[in-house]
């Protein structure tokens, strides 16, 4: 073995390139009892990056509840988590960020983010049935903001559409906090029979490692470390990744076909961040084994690549397959049928080592456990001072709107409230022939063919709320996603999440991260929805300032009888409308406060006991077939929730005598958690009231469905006029035109 010892400790510049601190370097050298060579240094840096090693977040993530009767595969075990949904079926899901690449090349950055999360799902053997995308953009009145937003949406659509996986939901929020650092979180959901769940473990010495898919180029080298340092553009050195959804589609079909037609595959792992490095190390780590890689067998796209580059390349659309000894050809035959190139590049060993060779020469030899157990860091959790500045909200200093109708129209047209259709109509949300509730509803609902069931999916997370109170923001992300799911009638079962925060080395961001996780944990315990997978994206900063702390939760629910489903649109003239829930509307942290007064202030609240009750009630009412519609009351408050149900159903609202206590703007536009707007035929009113009483959920009748106007307290406007403001708001903003009116 000829390891060239590097006696000279590496320069600061080299350490920065591999994103290791000097202490980490010494720690690694001590573990090895020798200095790592340059290839090893790159491998260690990649594996110990936040992206792969979770060095700042791992100690905190353990607080999230991860056990439950339905959980088949929990967080950290495989590429994605899995939940039992009955009928012998499981849902596999995960969300992942591609924030930094999307800031550099929005179209390809977002597209390859979708590609990566799809691979995480089909490595489990599951067929992807849905994608969701949670997006945060900087202001759209800024040219670069629009360029990023349009590019990101285009890239997500291109990749998902081409793959034939419907993009059925997601969210979009716009705020100055994300200028220069947009967030792109992509979630994928797969369906599989329990017994077909496939592991990503490399077990059994002598079994063969096959690399299949795209040739390896110099793409995205240092993608993982580049997601772990503050200034992505300056530190970015590798070539930007360009995705190939067509090849990914071939990979998907070929992998599923091999799994179904032979038992020669023992493990399946995609190549994501740090490419061959993390895929081989993680597979070996799961199997408790070692691996030998012979790099000369890796097909290259570029001439003259070094072992360092081959090990760290992040070329997309590649998979590592563990095939039973002597059976690689059975697997490769199927890849050939799909026109995919594959090579046997190594084998599983019992050494516990990552043993990388290039033409017989040793290039790196590192213990697997050293690579999978990155050092972790914890810091004191100190409440940052800014919270005392933004917390108090002096309502008396704020005039109430003179003209509530025009304030309402302005709110409807604002990019955070206006219709998302300009985005989701660019996504094929119907392919697969399962989409029962398409984007635009509270949660997407997909039927499960061959069963009476459907699954509901929603992603939620509010950066502004989390900024004002990280604990409440974390809890609200869980509560709101579960509430959206409950509004279709489905029972929330489990969630995945992506934590988008600033640098954990800054005490404010660390506090936000820690408290948001505490809030998520509290809500998840109360709602009995364990976490099954997730991803962490730290160092999100824009202009030297951390983004708003943005936990994104992707919730899964199950509806036993798809036929029971409830939509958000008003359905019948004359139906009664009521608000369910105890939440008192407040302007704290509301969209209205930000639009009308340019204020981000206040103390958002959540009561988890109210939350669980209102969700249980709405599900019971839906299962009892009592409701015509149910809609979560969130951004923009009651007036906006009523308008959205009206637009969805094409029917107006008569709620002229809105019960008000206190300020009018509060009751119209105030936001609070735990409220749901429902409608039902007058004949059902008594039963609805009785059910609410049984669960001790306050119910407030507010008016009737009907007519061609929106009459909400003092607001009075033709439905068509309001709908125009709402449907054009985001479209015009994305096109660079001022909102109407």
């Amino acid at each position: 073995m000829t390891l060239t010892p590097t006696h000279e400790p590496p320069s600061d510049e080299v350490l920065r390139e591999v994103a290791l601190t000097r202490d980490e370097y010494h720690f690694a050298a001590d573990l090895l009892d020798r200095p790592p060579n340059p290839v090893e240094l790159g491998i260690i840096g990649g594996m110990w990056s936040e992206h792969c090693g979770y060095k700042h977040s791992r100690p905190l993530l353990g607080r999230l509840p991860s056990e439950g009767p339905h959980v088949l595969i929990g967080p950290g075990e495989e590429n994605a988590g899995a939940v039992d949904i009955g009928h012998g079926l499981a849902i596999v899901m995960k969300v992942e960020s591609h924030n930094h690449p999307s800031a550099v090349e929005p179209f390809q950055g977002a597209a390859t983010g979708v590609g990566g999360i799809l691979r995480d799902i089909f490595t489990m053997g599951a067929r992807p049935i849905a994608l969701l995308d949670s997006l945060r953009f900087g202001p759209l009145d800024d040219r670069r903001g629009r360029y990023l937003a349009n590019g990101i949406v285009g890239g997500i659509g291109w990749y998902g559409n081409c793959m034939g996986v419907p993009t059925v939901g997601g969210e979009v929020q716009v705020s100055a906090s994300y200028r220069g650092n947009p967030l792109v979180n992509a979630m994928c959901v797969g369906l599989i029979q329990h017994e077909q769940l496939t592991s990503a473990a490399a077990s059994g010495a002598g079994n063969e490692l096959i690399l299949v898919g795209a040739d390896t180029g110099r793409d995205g080298i240092h993608g993982a470390t580049f997601a772990s340092v503050d200034d992505p553009e300056a530190s970015h050195r590798g070539v930007v990744q360009v995705g190939n959804p067509f090849m990914e589609k071939l990979l998907l079909e070929a992998c599923l076909e091999v799994l179904q037609t032979t038992d020669a595959i023992l493990g399946l792992q995609d190549l994501g961040a740090t490419g061959l490095t993390s895929s081989s190390v993680e597979s070996a780590g799961r199997g408790g084994t070692g691996v030998v890689l012979n790099l000369e067998h890796v097909a290259r796209r570029a001439a003259g690549m070094t072992p360092y580059e081959v090990m760290l390349s992040e070329s997309q659309e590649r998979m590592l397959v563990v095939a039973a000894r002597g059976r690689a050809h059975e697997v490769q035959r199927v890849f050939d049928k799909w026109g995919l190139h594959s090579d046997v590049i190594g084998e599983v060993t019992e050494t516990g080592l990552l043993d990388v060779r290039d033409n017989g020469q040793s290039a790196a030899t590192l213990p697997i456990t050293m690579l999978t157990d990155a050092p972790t860091y914890t810091y004191p959790v100190e409440r940052p001072a800014y919270l005392d500045e933004v917390g108090p909200l002096d309502l008396d200093a704020l005039p109430e709107p003179d003209d509530p109708t025009s304030a309402f129209l302005q709110l409807l047209a604002s990019p955070n409230i206006a219709s998302r259709r300009p985005i989701y109509r660019q996504y094929d949300h119907m392919v697969g022939a399962n989409t029962v509730i398409a984007p635009g509803g509270d949660a997407a609902l997909l039927r499960i063919k061959g069963t009476p069931m459907a699954v509901a999916l929603s992603t939620d997370g509010n950066g502004r709320t989390t900024y004002l109170d990280p604990f409440v923001g974390g809890a609200a992300a869980i509560a709101e996603s579960a509430r959206n799911v409950s509004c279709t009638g489905a029972r929330p079962l489990a969630f995945t999440n992506c934590l988008n925060f600033g640098s954990p080395e800054q005490s404010a961001a660390y506090y936000q991260l820690s408290r948001a996780i505490d809030g998520m944990a509290a809500a998840a315990r109360t709602l009995e929805t364990p976490v099954i997978s997730g991803n962490v994206s730290l160092y999100n900063e824009s202009g030297g300032e951390a983004i708003w702390p943005t936990p994104v939760v992707g919730m899964l629910g199950v509806l036993d009888e798809a036929e029971w489903r409830c939509g958000m649109g008003f359905a019948n003239d004359g139906d009664e409308i009521a608000v369910l829930g105890a939440g008192r509307p407040r302007l704290d942290g509301s969209e209205f406060l930000s639009i009308a007064h340019d204020l981000v202030a206040g103390q958002p609240e959540i009561d988890l006991v109210d939350e669980i009750a209102v969700q249980r009630l709405v599900r019971e009412l839906i299962a009892g077939r009592l409701l015509s519609s149910a809609h979560d009351c969130s951004d923009g408050g009651l007036a906006v929730a009523l308008a959205e149900s009206a637009f969805a159903g094409g029917l107006g609202v008569q709620a002229s005598d809105l019960p008000t206590s206190g300020r009018l703007d509060e009751s119209l536009f105030g936001e609070s958690q735990s409220r749901i707007v429902v409608s039902y035929p007058p004949l059902a009113a008594a039963a609805v009231a009785a059910a609410a009483a049984t669960l001790s959920v306050p119910i407030t009748p507010i008016g009737l469905v009907g007519g061609a106007r929106l009459r909400i307290g003092p607001i009075d406007v033709p439905l068509a006029r309001a709908e125009q403001a709402w449907s054009q708001g985001l479209e015009l903003a994305l096109a660079g035109h001022a909102p109407p009116g």
């Binding site: 550099v104 090349e105 390809q108 795209a214 180029g217 110099r218 793409d219 070539v239 930007v240 990744q241 360009v242 995705g243 190939n244 067509f246 090849m247 796209r301 570029a302 070329s315 997309q316 026109g339």
Partner: protein, 95 residues
């Protein structure tokens, strides 16, 4: 409208090393069709712009500004203004 009109011919190509899935796929199809001799295919864009400008130099400067501001993302692409020639001012185009 003062000044002349010019036609600028801009080519945009993926930078060396950047993956070109389209080129790779087309190469595969050419192989399937029997063109086994094809070693590599890379696909770029050809953008023809007709613009008004006071002089050829001014037109070139503007075309270059368009490339930098909109037509090209330097992270993955590079461009060349390959030709720039005056055009006879025929029928005006709709705005």
């Amino acid at each position: 409208m003062t000044g002349q009109h010019f036609r600028a011919r801009v080519t945009v190509q993926l930078n060396a090393g950047v993956n070109d899935p389209q080129g790779l796929t087309v190469r595969g199809s050419l192989h399937d069709l029997g063109f086994a001799e094809v070693r590599e295919v890379r696909i770029g864009k050809l953008i023809n712009i007709e613009l008004a400008a006071a002089s050829e130099a001014a037109a070139a400067e503007r075309a270059e500004a368009m490339c930098r501001q909109l037509l090209v993302n330097p992270v993955i692409e590079s461009f060349a203004i390959e030709a720039l020639e005056p055009v006879a001012d025929e029928v005006a185009q709709p705005a």
